[in-house]
Symmetry: C2
Subunit: 428 residues, 2 copies
């Protein structure tokens, strides 16, 4: 397929999505749930078929010399199939956000003014190798009344095409337009360029994948993008604190899992508690083989407590802005709350930051003043997640300030319009 054909194809997909979006906006909850549950059954009962389609992708990825981690992300085994089906049932069980009318208030003119929650319209999703995203993203967009254009990784092409076929059948079964979920049927990279520059058809783009994908999409898109860049998350241990709580949270925030975006990358410690807090904390990390990159004050305290110099690396300026996504942690001693907030403001990525303190005034200042999508008191940064926040599902975590910020669930895929209930009022 040449670039011009791809452009024409994408225009046609966009047009169909826009027409489908009008139907989806008025689809009933029962209809949307019927599609989700039908698809869940189909996937659960025909796991073998999807695993077979997936085998084609795995073989091609093997032949292309992709590394084991890549192939692992691509694989749809029994467990992944069960998880997809369970996810669909979970989304079906969530309340429908669409149509909610809120804040209706009578005005002096006699009109009553409120807000109605409505779909965004057409959501474009661009993602990389994991084919389960096809089903997860389709489910969230469908439940929130949007039409969707999905552009998966070329390596998952066979898996995605079979899932797309079933999604289409589920929609038709429920009486919904087949075009309300479209999976782009080409691996041509020009399809991405077309998708992100069709504001006449696409209302928002959600890129899911590595940083290079997201940077490319952000730089080139003429459509609004709900995106997630870095997760350089901090925990600040205040000098008024409970040490057991501080050790527990700082341990969990770093070591519960290393790869997620909400994992702590920099630990900030108030000078007044550093000598008590840091040595046992460092022992915990070192026992788990976490590499520590430390400021000079931290090194002095730890070496003074018998930790060998070679077990520590000196943190460089670059460490404070690095999202390791690995068993590496930077540690810095700061004078106190103000210095901690300045560090977070200067070096952080405004994703998730937590204070551990027993001081109420400082807790409330941290909550109010730290300008991040999720700000926590006495909790592990690992909680910044749509499920843990009670959203029931998650399409991603946004580092945008406008529209959707932090974990994005069904509500983030909707907007509100103003509704006015009049009785013949006119303006004077």
């Amino acid at each position: 397929m040449n670039a011009s054909d791809t452009f024409t194809l994408m225009q046609s997909i966009g047009q169909q999505a826009k027409v489908a979006a009008r139907h989806m906006a008025r689809a009933g909850t029962a209809q949307k749930n019927a599609a989700l549950l039908w698809l869940a059954d189909r996937i659960a009962h025909e796991g073998k078929a999807i695993e077979k389609a997936n085998e084609n992708d795995l073989k091609a990825a093997n032949d292309a010399g992709h590394d084991p981690a890549f192939i692992d992300r691509l694989r749809l085994g029994d467990k992944a199939v069960d998880t997809m089906a369970a996810g669909l049932r979970q989304v079906a069980s969530l309340p429908d956000p669409i149509g909610e009318v809120s804040e209706v208030k009578s005005q002096p003119s006699g009109i009553a003014v409120g807000k109605m929650r409505v779909p965004l319209g057409v959501v474009g999703i661009i993602y990389e190798s994991r084919p389960n995203v096809t089903v997860d993203a389709a489910a969230l967009c469908l439940k929130s009344g949007n039409a969707t254009v999905l552009r998966g990784g070329s390596e998952a092409f066979h898996s995605n095409q079979l899932l797309a076929k079933w999604i289409g059948e589920a929609l038709v079964h429920a009486g919904l337009p087949e075009a309300s979920v479209q999976v782009v049927p080409t691996t041509d990279r020009a399809a991405v360029g077309a998708l992100i520059t069709m504001p006449q058809y696409i209302d928002v783009i959600v890129p899911r994948g590595g940083k290079s994908l997201i940077q490319r999409v952000s730089a080139e898109a003429t459509v609004p993008v709900i995106k997630h860049l870095d997760g350089v998350c901090h925990v600040y241990i205040d000098d008024e604190t409970d040490l057991d709580m501080a050790w527990r949270i700082a341990d969990n925030a770093k070591t519960q899992r290393y790869a997620p975006c909400n994992t702590m990358e920099t630990l900030l410690v108030a000078r007044g508690i550093a000598a008590d807090f840091l040595p046992p904390m460092a022992e915990i990390y070192l026992a788990k083989h976490v590499e520590l990159r430390v400021c000079t004050a931290t090194r002095a305290i730890l070496q003074n407590h018998g930790i060998a110099a070679h077990q520590l690396r000196d943190a460089t300026e670059k460490d404070w802005t690095t999202e390791y996504l690995a068993p590496i942690l930077s540690i810095k001693i700061v004078d106190g709350l103000e210095a901690a907030m300045q560090h977070i403001d200067h070096y952080g990525s405004h994703h998730t930051d937590s204070i551990v303190t027993t001081n109420h005034i400082r807790a409330m200042r941290f909550l109010r003043e730290v300008d991040s999508a999720s700000v926590m008191v006495n909790a592990s940064t690992r909680f910044a997640d749509g499920f843990e926040f009670g959203l029931g599902a998650e399409i991603g975590i946004s580092t945008n300030k406008l529209h959707a910020r932090g974990p994005v669930g069904l509500e983030g895929l909707t907007t509100q319009k103003w509704v006015v209930f009049g009785h013949g009022e006119v303006r004077t």
Copy 2:
């Protein structure tokens, strides 16, 4: 000032705004109100000084050969000065949106998760000749805890610089950073280009002015833009309706004022009621010298009722998408609700649309299905306004779907972050 100097100046303004934004985010309500009220007094008491500065701008505009309407927009007379002072007192009297914590719910893990309303950060405002926008916009941004960079029209330079000086004094008087409101001190057009491409300093741009300004800003900005493009607003007269109400609303929506964006530009009439509704309606419009551009069915009905052929123009395809902002109205007869909604979807600008009907089912379908920022039942489109909607103030009307949609008040200049109240919880 050359382009490189302007770029350096704007970078410096951006940096200072960002630093000021952190202070503004934690400013108390009393402090913000003190600045607003001090400024209101200053403007009220020194009206002569502002009128004198304004004279310089008016003289230059006269010399430059600007038309009377332009000069009228530029003029700050007694009334404009009083209105600015009253506007400041009004904003001071509004509730402070910042710091509001809502929807806090306990989660199974033990943490409580909610949302806190916070400022956007730094708001850039680009506007044209009216110098009163300097004060209005500064007031809204200040009350909502944002730092602001204001770029007014070069023709209002002297007026804006004096107002900027007083705003700075008001901020200092209240103990707030002077840099939290900055008025760009150059008329170099390159300042706009710099302002809209500094995402590292500016969180959102609000352009206020003509369509060409807004299109330029939207096309070139790398910062999110809260914008207002067209207002092609519709009133649909259903065949189940009260004729007196329909005449009253259709009259008001068009003729109460011609220039606002929420004025009706196209009147849609259900075929079943057209012969009863249209002739008296046309008489009202023609008596007010509103030019009527009509579909063939409308022409037939009106001529049949004795309106002369030459009093009507045939509507062309272009009329259905035109925002006249003038005593011109396009009229089309449609089969019914479905056709009306299709017309609005296809030709409208998704700004404000109203249905006049006594049928509940159709009213609710119109409210739900019409994808516009403000959707009304039995009310004049002229109500789409921050004051009429009860926002107490308005920075503009957004035709964006994301973030702020429709009339934008203080809340549209804020965002919400997630706040987590823990007691030492960790993720398992």
